[in-house]
Each structure stands twice: as C-alpha cells, then as structure tokens.
Subunit: 165 residues, 4 copies
C-alpha cells in the first residue's frame, strides 16, 4: 500500500530508493561503461526527482585534478535515465540529446550532490535535467540536460540490476 | 622545417600525430577518468582536424550492448580538447559546454571514426565539434559539440603526457 | 536605502523592476530584432531571478497556431540577458551558446510565465537558464539555456533603453 | 521524371528549389513569427542540404548593431525545418531541441550563407544542423542544431505555403 507521509513523499519511495541504491552499488562490479556510475549513492527518490551524492575521488578526475567533464556527462546520462526509470518501468529508452554546462571546478575530496529532475514524460519522449552542487557550500558546479526517446517496441527491461542504462 | 606534401597536409603533422598517438596510448594506464579514452587511435591530425578510430568493446557499452552515451560524451570531451591542443600549446583550457546528439546505436565489434573539428579559436574561447561515423558504412551515429574556455592565467601544461584534458 | 522585506526581496528591486518594465515596453517601437520581445511584461526581479509574463498572440505563432520555436529562443536570449544585466551593469555581453528544449505546444490566448535564473556570474562568463510555464496550470512548456561571455574591453552600455541585448 | 545531372544533383531539385524560394518569399507578408524568415533567399536544395543567403539589415540586429542571437536561432529553426521538409512531405513536425553556438559577430551589410544539413531522418526523429558563414570571407559565424520530432498522427501539411514551420 502506498500512503503519503508528512513531506508529501510516498511511503513506498523508500522501497524504490532501496532498489536504486542496489542498482548503483552493483554498477561498480560491471565491466561495461556503467561502472563509471559506481560511486554514486542515491539518497532520495520520487517520481519527479532523484537525489544522489558522490565523493570526488582519483578515478573521477581530469589531469588538472578536478572532476572530469566526461565523468560529469556520464553521471548526467546515468542518473537522469534512472530518474525517468522510476516511472517508465516497462519500456526501453535511448538517449537523444545530452548537454552539460560546466560552471565551477570540483576538487578531489569534495562531495557533490546531484539532483536529477524529470521535467516531462510524454508519449515518445522524456525531458530531464540535473544540477550538480558542491555539498560544502551548495554552489552550482554544473548543469546537465538529457532528452530521452521512449522506445515503443522494445521488450521490457529489468530495472533491478541496472539494465535500463 | 615544415613543407607541404601532395595532400595539402603539413609534413610535420606526422610529428604531431606521433605525439598524439603517444598521448592516447598512455591514457590506458592512467588511474584518472582519462583512462576512458585509452582505446582511441588517432590516424590524422592538422590544425583544423583530428581524426581517430575506436573499436567498440565491452568496456564502452551500456546495458543494451551498444555504445554508452557517457562514453560518446567522454570521447567528445577528450578528442576535441586534444584537437584544440594542437594549436593552444601554452595555456590551460576548461570545458564550458558539452553536447551530444545520438542518432544511431553502435554495436560491439563496430569501429567508429571520430572526426573532431576546430571551428574557431578566439582570444578566450575555442569552438569545436565532432562527428561519430560507423566505419563499415560511413553512417553518422552521433554528433558532439565542445565549447572550451582558454584560461589566461594558468601556467603552461605538458601536452606530451595528456596533461591538457 | 536598500532593506529586506518579508519575502527576502530587496526593497529597491522595485526600482530595478520599474526600469526593466520600461526597457521591455520600449522594445515594441524598435526597428531591430529586439522588437520581438515587446510583448513581455516583467513582474519580478532580483539579482538571481527575472520573472516575466507574455500573452500568446498572433505575432508569436508558427503555422500550426502555436508558439513559434524561434520566438521561444528569442525570449530566452533577451530575458536571460536582461536578468544578467541586473548585476552586470558596466560591461558588454555576447551570447556564446543558446539552447531550448520544447516540451509542450502553447496556444494563442495562453499566458506563459518565463522565469530566468542567473546561475553563475564568473569573471568572463555568465550562465543562465529559464523556464517557460503555462500560467493556467503551471506546466513546463519549454526550458532554455543561455551562456554569455562578458566582454572585458567594451565601453559601458546604457541599460535604461535596452542597449544590452 | 527525375534524372541525375553532372553535379550529382537531381534535376527536379530545381522544381523543389522554386517551391522553397516561393515559400520564403511569402513569409514576409505573414503576421505570424515566420515573418522573421522573410529575408532568406534559398539558392540550392537537395534531400541532404538547403543553402540560403541573407543580407543583414536593420531588422535583424541587436542593440550593438550586429546580427541578433534570436534572429540566428529563428533562422536555424525555420531553415532546418524546411530542409527536412524536402523529404518529410506528409507529416507534421515539432521542435524538440534547438541550440546555437555564436562564434563571430556579423555586421549590417554583410551577407551570410546558411547551409542546413539533414543529418538523419529516423522513424520518429529528424536530426539537422546548420552553418552560418560570412560570405565575404567564408568564416563560420555561428552553428545551429535542430532536433525535430515527426508527429505520427497529424494530418498532412501544405508545404507550398510554408505551413510546415
């Protein structure tokens, strides 16, 4: 049963969150490119929003010792797709457009908070974006956008082990 | 001395190409995120263009078994930055904007040809884009764009070992 | 004197708002492309945010009778630039990157609320975005992004009559 | 009958070009936002490419006396949609994503050459981009991108009088 708690958050979002935590934890052991999302820790989920944290470590850096642009883009891809997957359970998805604006360099040891927003789910298309904030001061470090096509004819995908991205 | 050969390509681009091949070969051994560019093989370089190839392998895939959107974004970032680095030798650079349009899924075993174009080098800004084509039939599979700020006050960077991205 | 009212809004923002209302009202009489912002009515301004409304009329439409994509892009350009202009008073600005995602068609007779956000003002660069919402139901109809270069060497511009965009 | 001439261009492209010239000429008299494409002169068309020219005049400018970012975005929207319309004759289209990078200011009296490329026509989606070049020296002044959804259920549109954008 799904009931509303005081924060307007569905009770069974904690079930959804547990699933998503599980999915991200598993990424680390993968051989494919999704392994690059393996340090992400989901902390809140609803149909509209997925909030995660990540501690910046050596494997996320560019040669200047700050968070790599490709890592930020990869997190945008994976986290927004998973946010959309809270609603789109039985269909495949394919990226149409990914874009990232880089505003502030993030250093090793910083924790970033990533908030993915599901802006609109249409019949054929999902619009999402996400904010990257430095947890220590809340400053916006990057902003991503991910527009995704819903694949009408594909068989259902198994969300529980990260098959959707 | 730099002389022109029959293809209108500067002779000493072969020196530049050798350097770039060396840079990309080294990426594989890195601990940082640039390791994700380690399967890229540069095949041509000029001041305006850097052409590379990459054989799609397990480490580049999403869960559907096709080239991961984050891998494509990462390649856009790294290869266009290196293309700009052919001209910008003594300054730091920082990504401002990265964007990718995804047109066709690419399968494991396919080889993609990535052509990075240096569109404009201004005083503070470099505009680049790149095409991803499936080598077997020349079809466009993705198109990337990378707008980069030139950092005026940073010390020079060591290009020879991939310090520019 | 600038004091804080109950909403955390600076009192003298009403002075700034009056200026901006004046600027937009004047656009209608211009011969240049800024005339296309002439139906915009600013309703709130702070250093971080400029909120406007526009009633969709015949001059804003495409051939399908809905808000034209070029009109939305033009509003993104003009309104976010003006939002940045609240802070950047003595320098020229130039667009680097404009992007719009279109989510929902807007019909003639609808009023849209446009909220421009100043995300970051750096030394050389301003990052902004904006939301377009249908006022009747609050639904997001489009989302824009505008990345602007601050021109270091240009003479000051006269904000009072819309000289900044 | 459609036959190939020496340039690899279909003979009946001249018929198509005449139609497109007619469409753009008509835009000037429209009340809707498409009037802002009314100074565009198409000069070449094929299924992959639509090339146009436009003399920069007072109505296209920003307050700095150079081509307005919103005008460039509007041209990107209209010209790429028309380029896609050469192939997609019997279906509606809707913008999903529009993006423009601005590289060089263009002055009044300059002529720009705009080349729209149809990159991919899929089942549900069209990918296009376009280059803006200053005709006097061929320099790239801006680059646009327009991703368009094909509307499956809409009735056919009348291309001959610009009903497609």
């Amino acid at each position: 049963m799904s009931t509303q708690n005081g924060n307007g958050i569905l009770e069974n979002d904690t079930v959804e969150l547990a699933k998503i935590v599980h999915v991200f934890k598993n990424l680390k052991s993968l051989e494919n490119f999704n392994r690059n999302g393996g340090d992400v820790v989901p902390i809140f989920v609803s149909k509209e929003k997925l909030v995660c944290e990540m501690l910046i470590q050596a494997q996320h850096l560019n040669s200047k010792g700050t968070l790599h642009g490709g890592q930020t883009a990869t997190l945008t891809d994976i986290i927004t797709a998973r946010a959309a997957g809270v609603t789109i359970k039985d269909k495949g998805m394919a990226s149409v457009e990914l874009a990232v604006s880089y505003m502030l360099p993030v250093k090793v040891g910083d924790t970033i908070e990533i908030t993915a927003n599901v802006l609109k789910i249409g019949r054929n298309m999902v619009f999402t974006d996400c904010d990257f904030r430095r947890k220590s001061d809340g400053k916006l470090t990057a902003k991503g956008k991910h527009t995704i096509a819903i694949l009408p004819d594909l068989p259902g995908v198994d969300l529980d082990n990260g098959k959707q991205f």
